[in-house]
């Protein structure tokens, strides 16, 4: 078996349909709310981390077996060490300020939160600015040699290195972390749930 080989209008429609499902789940899981991200960083509401960890717990084994039998192919981007470090630092600061990643900003705008449009405009403005400062980035970030060749790992991933222990260990760790975060979440008892419902 192999991935569906669709193109043209069928591919456009398929992408639209998957986008609609994504947008729907982002709103229903409250990830489109700015508050969900803000509360995550102060551990008031661990929904975001639980969603992330559970997706890894479920997705990694399924993804592994589907990749092994050729049903899906993974398409990793060309990540490098120093750009990842600098990028993560900038993204972390930005996330605390605006409380959105690109898809949640779009979903938030779809629910009528017009201020998300300003966040989106800021995001789109980053492209010409990064293009302008590219020579500086080339000198100080992109041109810097990697301390370890992480890209080799990125191309192969733990899937293809025969490290099958990781295949079960990492999802298990993610599940334990999700359960722990649920446990420490303030007001996670049934009483507070009933209070919320009323």
């Amino acid at each position: 078996m192999h991935p569906l080989q669709i193109s043209g209008n069928v591919k456009l429609f398929a992408a639209l349909f998957i986008g609609i499902l994504f947008g729907f789940i982002l709103v229903k899981s409250a990830l489109s709310n700015r508050k969900t991200f803000m509360d995550q960083f102060t551990f008031k509401d661990n929904s975001f981390a639980i969603i992330f960890f559970i997706s890894i717990t479920v997705g990694v084994p399924v993804c592994y077996f589907l990749t092994k039998y050729g049903i899906i192919n993974l398409h990793p981007s060309n990540y490098r060490f120093w750009p990842i470090v600098v990028g993560a630092i900038l993204t972390g600061i930005g996330l605390v300020l605006c409380g959105h990643i690109p898809i949640t900003a779009i979903a938030s705008f779809g629910t009528g939160k017009l201020y998300s449009l300003i966040v989106l405009l800021g995001m789109l403005a980053a492209f010409p600015v990064i293009n302008l400062i590219e020579p500086i980035l080339n000198d100080y970030v992109f041109g810097k040699p990697d301390p370890v060749d992480l890209n080799v790992l990125a191309q192969n991933s733990l899937f293809f290195q025969g490290k099958t222990a990781m295949l079960y260990l990492i999802p298990a760790i993610c599940l334990v972390l999700a359960l722990f975060l649920r446990l420490i979440q303030r007001g996670s008892g049934t009483k507070s749930k009933k209070k919320e419902e009323t």
Binding site: I6, I20, F22, I25, G59, T91, G94, G99, I101
Partner: protein, 164 residues
């Protein structure tokens, strides 16, 4: 199904499972990871083209972003959560002097920094989330740095607010 449609929120456990399967579904149906940086880059370029009076063609990854907008709109209407809001509630609580000036600047700067970071890193958070299902180690590095830093800054800011 109807219950999910009309409910205002689904549990994080169910959401995590659904998101994982959506990433896998996109890899099977489209044979590509969704939400990549190219879609946003193309949007920025095409916005300029539309401004100049040209009508560019649309690609599948831009269609995915339009789908998110439509899906969010449907979910908000179905759950009776659709509400036009000019300013976020946490900014509104700080008064007009804040939300009319500082709040707008923070949203703009925050959005700029998020995307600038992702452009430098190599791709968007969504794409990295999808790649994380393939256990790519370098994606884990990005997520750990970003999360730890955001928690540190978030905690410092909340402590400062509590002191006030």
């Amino acid at each position: 199904m109807l219950k999910i449609l009309s409910s205002s929120k689904i549990s994080p456990w169910m959401s995590g499972i659904l998101i994982a399967f959506l990433f896998i579904l996109s890899l099977y149906v489209i044979d590509s990871s969704v939400g990549s940086i190219n879609a946003y880059s193309n949007l920025a370029n095409k916005a300029a083209a539309i401004y100049n009076g040209n009508m560019p063609s649309i690609t599948w990854d831009e269609m995915f972003l339009i789908g998110i907008l439509i899906g969010a709109f449907i979910a908000a209407l179905a759950g009776k959560q659709f509400k036009l809001q000019l300013f976020s509630e946490d900014h509104l609580s700080k008064g007009p002097a804040y939300y009319l000036t500082f709040g707008i600047m923070l949203n703009l700067l925050g959005g700029f920094l998020v995307m600038a970071g992702m452009i430098i890193a190599g791709d968007t958070f969504t794409k990295m989330w999808g790649d994380a299902l393939g256990l790519f180690t370098i994606v884990g590095l990005f997520l750990i740095i970003m999360f730890v830093e955001a928690v540190l800054i978030g905690t410092m800011l909340s402590l400062k607010i509590e002191e006030k």
